[in-house]
Symmetry: C2
Subunit: 177 residues, 2 copies
C-alpha cells in the first residue's frame, strides 16, 4: 500500500515528532517509536500481528483476524486475549481505526490509507467505502461551533445495497438496524 498522505490528527501530544515524519515511516517503524515512547515492548506476537493486520486491506473484527492466525499447536500461535490487547495497542498507536458494528468492534487501517466513510448493507452485512471531503469540513465546523476537540468521527450510512435490493424477495437474513 502506498503511503498516502493522511496524517490523521494524532491521538495525543505524547508523540510530537510523529506527525512530521509519519508519511515516510513504515507502520512497523511508527509502532516501534510508539512503543519506545511508552516504555512498552515489541514481542514476537506483536510483530506477527502487525504483519498480519497490515496484509489486510479490508475491515475486520477480532474473530476474523484470529481465524486467519495459526492455531494452538502451531509456531506463531497468539492467544485470544493477546490479540485483543494488541489490537487495542495498535489503535492507541494510531495504526488502526476502530468502530462498532452490530455490537462488536471492527478495525481497519488508519495509517497510510486514505480517510473514508462507509455504507453498510443490513442484508448482506457488506461494508462499502466511500470518500467525501465535505464530511470532514462539516465535522470540523460543527465541532468548532461547540468548542469541541475532534479526535475522530464515524459516519455510517445504513440501508440495502444494490445487489441485495435486486434479489429482495429471496433474502432470508434478519435485519438488525
Amino acid at each position: 500500500m502506498p503511503d498516502s498522505p493522511s496524517p490523521k490528527t494524532e491521538p495525543m501530544a505524547k508523540t510530537e515528532p510523529l506527525a512530521s515524519v509519519s508519511v515516510s515511516m513504515t507502520p512497523l517503524a511508527r509502532y516501534e517509536e510508539f512503543l519506545q515512547s511508552r516504555g512498552l515492548r515489541n514481542t514476537n506476537q506483536k510483530k506477527y500481528l502487525l504483519e498480519q493486520v497490515f496484509n489486510r486491506h479490508e475491515h475486520f473484527d477480532a474473530d476474523q483476524l484470529i481465524d486467519q492466525l495459526p492455531s494452538k499447536g502451531s509456531p506463531n500461535y497468539v492467544s485470544r486475549p493477546t490479540v485483543y490487547r494488541t489490537l487495542r495497542e495498535f489503535v492507541d498507536a494510531g495504526l488502526l481505526h476502530r468502530f462498532e458494528l452490530d455490537g462488536r468492534s471492527m478495525y481497519e487501517l488508519n495509517y497510510g490509507y486514505p480517510e473514508h466513510d462507509h455504507l453498510y448493507c443490513s442484508k448482506c452485512r457488506k461494508l462499502i467505502e466511500f470518500t467525501c471531503e465535505e464530511i470532514v469540513k462539516i465535522r470540523d465546523e460543527v465541532a468548532r461551533a461547540h468548542r469541541f476537540r475532534v479526535r475522530d468521527h464515524r459516519f455510517i450510512i445504513q440501508g440495502v445495497c444494490d445487489e441485495c435490493a435486486k434479489k429482495r424477495s429471496l433474502g432470508r437474513r434478519q435485519d438488525r438496524v
Copy 2:
C-alpha cells in the same frame, strides 16, 4: 438467534399510510397501529414502557431505563428481557432510533423529535446533539451514486468536549475509541 422465517420487514414497507399522518398521531396511536398491522398485542408492560420512554428527552441505554423502572416487588415491574424485547419493538415501530456506543445500544426518540447527530466526549461520555441539514444531503447523494437504499445513518463526532478540555490535567480516564 434462530432464523425466524418471519421477514422482519423494514418499518416502512408495511405501513405506507403512516408517513402522511404521522405528525398528527401520538406515539401511542402510532404504536397501536403498528401492533395491529402485525397482529401483536398491547400489554400493560408495553404501555408502561412507552410512557416511560417518551418521558425521556435524552438518549438512554437499556440499563438506564431499567434503573428508572419499579423494582421487582413493585406494581409496574417489568423484567429485563421484556425491556429488551419491547425496546426492539419500539425500534421496529419507528418510535425509537438505535445506535451503538462503547459496545452497548443507545436509544433515542425518533418520533416527533427533530433529526440530529451527535458529538461524543470520550472523557465524560456525554452526548451532545447537533443538527445539520447538509449531512442528509450528502448521505443521499453518496447513496444515490452507489445505488444504495438508505434506511438511516449515524454520524458521531468523537473527541473531547469543552468542559473536559478545560480540566484536562485532572482527568485520568482512559479513552476508549
